[in-house]
């Protein structure tokens, strides 16, 4: 494959390259000397650095070379995204795993403490509790969201009028962020539902004030928010079942339930994999609703011999409050690393299990 000579321009290329290198080096020298580069009354180090990098890339871009132009373009095209990805994901990930073995306080590291953070978290009843209810929440949530979403999808693929409206209405909660939703439902549980329970049974306490009912409340909100989205995916799956298969089943006299269990469910096995995966990972990572709805509060009288006040605090929120609220950065980071490991194992297992089922069916 021969490429035409690039639109090279030697003088322009050299000017850009030289200007870029000069700016970059002067900015870096100032950075390392910890001095500001004053021009027109403001510090121009940052601007010089960015402009210098842009200059070098422009210089390379205009460099008259037939052989290497394609390579230069590859580098220029890859650089912005890879650079942002490395700085925001890879470097913090590596640093974070490292920090989890130290006494990092968010600013500096004084001592390496080895596995101390990891062993400490398993002696902390509130953290064990968070792990347990997170698993419980994920389990309930996965079953309920998928069940509700599948039933809604069956409803929305049967012949009823105004289907577009129903689909859009069921999907609507998914558009709104967890923080706002959390507060809306906090209002509903503490003001509206309490009115009803008072009238029915004389129970004046809000659902959110008791740990068990507050846990149910979080599930209700999450199913309400998420089922509409999963429903859309199930609808797509159901619509992909060839009509002639369903017709053949009807001619053979299969009942509605037989069609559902023997034809529809096996034929959407891959959709079920996608949906369980989505609900699993999103439920594990749930944070906003937890924060806004209960903020993790809820009392547990006796768990592993101690009294807990974080009855509804899921893992993600526990990590956040350990690090940001209690200022124990290294400890929070160690919990986060464990969270990452759990999430990775669970999602790999889940995909393996459901896809092996897919083959059987």
């Amino acid at each position: 494959m021969e490429y035409k000579i690039s639109n090279g321009n030697k003088p322009l290329s050299l000017v850009c390259l030289i200007a870029g290198v000069v700016m970059l080096i002067s900015a870096l020298v100032c950075d390392f000397a910890k001095k500001s580069l004053m021009l027109f009354g403001s510090d121009c180090r940052g601007a010089f650095l960015v402009l210098g990098a842009v200059g070098i890339f422009l210089g390379l871009f205009f460099f008259p070379t037939e052989k290497h132009h394609r390579k230069i373009i590859n580098i220029i095209f890859l650089f912005p995204l890879l650079f942002a990805f490395a700085v925001t994901v890879i470097i913090p990930l590596v640093l974070g795993i490292g920090y989890s073995f130290t006494d990092w306080d968010g600013i500096r590291v004084k001592n390496v403490v080895g596995l101390a953070n990891y062993t400490k978290m398993f002696t902390q009843p509130s953290f064990i509790w968070s792990i347990l209810i997170t698993f419980l929440f994920v389990l309930f949530n996965m079953i309920l969201v998928n069940l509700v979403a599948f039933l809604l999808a069956l409803l929305c693929t049967s012949k009823i009028k105004g289907m577009g409206f129903f689909r859009a209405a069921y999907f609507l909660p998914n558009l709104i962020g967890g923080i706002v939703l959390g507060y809306i439902w906090q209002f509903i549980f503490s003001n509206v539902v309490t009115k009803w329970t008072t009238a029915l049974s004389g129970n004046q306490y809000s659902m959110l004030s008791d740990t068990k009912t507050a846990f149910i409340a979080i599930i209700i909100v999450y199913v309400w928010q998420y089922a509409g989205y999963i429903m859309l995916i199930y609808i797509t799956g159901l619509n992909m079942i060839p009509l002639d298969v369903l017709e053949a089943a009807a001619i053979d006299g299969a009942s509605r339930l037989q069609t559902l269990f023997n034809i529809k469910l096996p034929m959407i096995a891959s959709t079920i994999t996608i949906c369980t995966f989505l609900t699993l990972t999103s439920a594990f990572k749930m944070f906003d609703v937890n924060l806004a709805l209960t903020n993790g509060t809820g009392s547990i009288a006796d768990f592993m011999g101690s009294y807990l006040t974080n009855g509804t605090e899921m893992l993600a929120l526990n990590i956040y409050s350990t690090a940001v609220v209690e200022n124990k950065y290294a400890f929070g980071e160690a919990k986060a690393v464990l969270f990452f490991i759990i999430l990775a194992i669970v999602s790999i297992l889940q995909v393996k299990i459901t896809s092996s089922k897919e083959v059987e069916l």
Binding site: K4, G46, L175, V180, W224
Partner: protein, 290 residues
Amino acid sequence: MHRKEKSSSVAIRCIIAVLISIYVLFPFFLVVINSCKTTQDITANPIGFNGVGIGQLIQNLSDVINNTHFLFWQAFGFSVLITVLSLVLLAVFGGMAAWVICRNNRKKWSMVIYFIFIASMIIPFQVVMLPLISTFRDVGKFVGIPMLQSVPGIVFAYLGFGGAMTVFILNGFIKGIPFELEEAASIDGCYPEQTFFKIIFPLLTPVITTITILNGMWIWNDYLLPSMMLGQNGAVKTLPVAVQAFVGSYVKQWNMILAAALLAIVPMVIVFLVAQKQIMNGMIEGAVKG
């Protein structure tokens, strides 16, 4: 499918569908009516129409909009700015990177980059958020560009966090574009960069719509990243952060809180009404391909 349906069973299904939609939409209804009341009227009867008035709605909204913790227009402006900038950069840089990765997919470096992108999609934000903040603080100080509490900083972070999924979805699409098209372009005298921007990028429109919707919903509603990077009381705030800061300072003033929620919901609902089909299809495609 083609069996004759009894009209009674169709009617029952219609009724169920209506009942569910009432349940699903009920919270929105409560937000709207209670934003039009005083706190006393809400406490007296949160689901009735007593005390509902346009005057009270305007009163509540103007209280919320001018509240120093909320500053609606400012937060709205920052949310729009951050979301739009991130989406444009993700589409352009994501497209460029995905094209290079896809067209060199037999080479080792391309495979390694692609694998790292895919593997990184499982990393939860919690693992990187703490070192991210300290890295951004240190790097910002070192080079003299404020990375925390600044729009460029957070847009840069979204570019990094959204990159993997964007490349993954785009890659699947670019694979389907015949390479002969690019060969023809280069024979006709296109440089590689021209081939991308004039031939490939326009062909990506449908999939770019999909990733823009997915990333847009995520960035617009995201709370944790902006709250960590911008801070609760910083000069730059997005809408979810402003709502959280506002509610924290007005405990139990439900008319104000719900008016704030209404203001946060309305832009999204308007966008949904305009682009309902695209949004729903985009969400489906993102899930099925992701």
